[in-house]
Structure formats: structure tokens, C-alpha cells
Amino acid sequence: MACQGLEQGETVATLKKETEALKTKLETERAKLQDVELNTLAEKIEPVGQLNIKTRRILKGHGNKVLCVDWCTDKRRMVSSSQDGKVIVWDAYTTNKEHAVTMPCTWVMACAYAPSGCAIAAGGLDNKLSVYPLSLDKNENLASKRKPVAMHTNYVSHCTFTLSDMQVLTSSGDGTCALWDVESAQLLQSFHSHTADVLSLDMGPAETSNTFVSGGCDMKAKLWDMRSGQNVQSFETHQSDVNCVKFYPSGDAFATGSDDATCRFYDLRADREVAVFSKDSVIFGANSVDFSQSGRLLFAGYNDYTVNVWDVLKGTRLNILYGHENRISSLRMAPDGTSFCTASWDNTLRVWA
């Protein structure tokens, strides 16, 4: 028994050494390709003109911290979820609430609108993701139509429908991501590699729709192949939890927001970090990021209640948007790029344009 333990110990030590050696080799390989810097190339580009972004709508109705928001593909509806378990579907143009359902748990950290606009998904501390079909009947009892789809062993931190209403991707505090079939509630694929809670995920745009990127408390951002379940690329440059990951509109890059107060931009084809969006005066963690339609602007919501607008190419901060009275938990660009919505711990949502 004792010599078996020694064998185990040797294996662990050798594996650790091998891991460190491989990581160094990976960095050397990546460094070979760094022949230019993004901001040097961007020097000849015209700077962005004056941005006049204001709050255009304030959605009030949640009784507690709003944790997540997602737009419908019709560009006017959105679903939001909050700490007290309520999930509300809004018509953001009129600020009317169209549907409301109370989940059987608190801290509903994840919510998503189905691409067809006919269903929503929500999950959180109950370790499950439930799908609710929506109908035109405003008096329906949504709670009775609840369909549990995903089951994790820890909280559900983020979710998204894939290209159709039939599959959902979830990320969880149990360190894994998973792909589920909505109809049968079967686990189709499971993604293991993170060594701590996974806080966020984002699916690639249509061209790269069989990949997704995830970020977690192990400070890593990882790119996955949905069909094989393999972790294809891994990035470890952040110095604290990666709160949010977002694909670039072209699908060749992605951005992250982290508790280390920086947002970073990674090029997937070159397999490295190409920009860091930070300032000495920005000391609070970034909770959520999203790109403008062209990808020139990066909007990031922080724990200091503000939204910072960054020029992706030049790496400079263009604007600070004030308005929320507590930390911003979620930020999402509308599908047509005309506005973006922020969800905050001050119980409101704001639409900016």
C-alpha cells in the first residue's frame, strides 16, 4: 500500500513538471508569432468621433438585484432575472412587462431568450436550467409550464440557446459546461477542463457556430469544440476571476472582463492576447462586456456602477457612462446594434443609445 502511494506521488510530481514544461513551450510557440502590436497598426486609423450615448429607457419592476439580461431576436423584447427569483419578459420600447414568472430558487444568475422568441430559459442556485414556453396569452400561468432541462452539481452561472430552440449550453459553479437537448433534457456533451467555477460562456457567431468560449474563477478563458468536447485553446493572462467572455462579431477573436479590473482582447487565429483595456483609475472588476456591431467599440460594465466604452483598436477609453446606482451585473448589445442594455444591482435595467 505504501509503495502504491509513492507511485501515485511520483506520477503527480512528474505530471506537474510536465505541465509546467509544456506551458512554457506553449508560450514560446505563441511568442514566435508576435511580430506586430495592435495599437501600432491602429495608429494610422481615424480616431472615433464624439459619442453621445444616453439612457433612453429605464425598466423598473424588479424588487431586487437584476443579475442577467438577454435580448430577443425581434430587437425590442428582453428577458431579465433577479436575486429574488423573478424572471420578467419586457417590451423595452414601451417598458411594459409582458410576462413574469417566479422561479423556485433565488439568485437566478442565468437567463436567455430562445432564437424563435417563443421560449425563455432561466437557472441559478437551484443547480438547474428550466425552459418556459411563451405564448401570446398574458394571463397564462408560466410557472406551471416549467420544463427542467439541465442539471448540474452546483449553481448555473450562464446559459445560452445554440442556433435553435432545441439545444442549450450552460456553464456552472461545478467547473463544467454542458450542452443539453431541450426536448428530452438529455446531456449531449460535457466540457471539462476548468479547475474552478465557470462564470460565463459565449457561443461563436454563425460562421464559427460549433465553438464557444468560457471564462472562470481559475483565471482562464478557454475555447471549446462543441462536437468533440475538447478544450481547443486556453488563455491564462488574467490575474483574477474571468467574469465575462464575449466573441468578437467576426468570430476570430474574443474579449474578457475580469475582477482584476482589466478587459482583455484575444486573437484566436494567432492564439494570443493582443490588447489589455485598463487604466490606473479603473480599479473595480468588470462584470460584463459586449462589442458594438462593427467591433470597434467595447462596452464594459463595472462594479463601480459605470460603463466604460473602449476603442478596441487603439486601446483607449472613449467614454464613461453614469446612471446606475449599484454595480452592473450584465451588459448586452441589441441584435441590430442600435442600443445596448445594462442590468444592475440597483434593481433596474437601462437601455442606452
Binding site: 506553449l26 506586430v36 486573437d267
Partner: protein, 67 residues
């Protein structure tokens, strides 16, 4: 966590080996293409073009707003 889980560490080692072998392109190739992509889509970006603001459904056309 790593210290105790040998299968997970073996998976990490295999994954790292695969990542080292992944084909990657030089930044001097990928970045100019990224910049070109942005420049092509910038004219249609509602946040970057003031003239598109007139058609923006969120912007009020009248002077007074009731919030």
C-alpha cells in the same frame, strides 16, 4: 485541486500537447485582417454614425421625454 486528481492532470497534459501542435498564424497576418473587417463594418455601426441616429428607434424625435 490538481495535486490530488491524476486523471485530470493527465487530461491537462494531453490538452497542452495538442495546443502546442495547433496551427497558428502570425499577428502580422491576422491583425490587419481584423482591422480590415472592422473598417468594412464601421459604416453600418449605429454607434459610430451620427446620421444613422435619425433612424434609431430608441432616440426620441421630440424634445420632451417622460421617463
Amino acid at each position: 485541486m490538481d495535486e490530488l486528481d491524476v486523471p485530470l492532470m493527465q487530461m491537462h497534459v494531453a490538452g497542452l500537447k495538442q495546443q502546442i501542435d495547433t496551427p497558428r498564424e502570425k499577428l502580422s497576418v491576422t491583425l490587419p485582417e481584423l482591422i480590415k473587417w472592422i473598417e468594412e463594418t464601421m459604416p453600418k455601426d449605429p454607434f459610430l454614425n451620427d446620421d444613422l441616429l435619425r433612424n434609431n428607434p430608441w432616440v426620441e424625435t421630440s424634445k420632451c421625454v417622460l421617463l
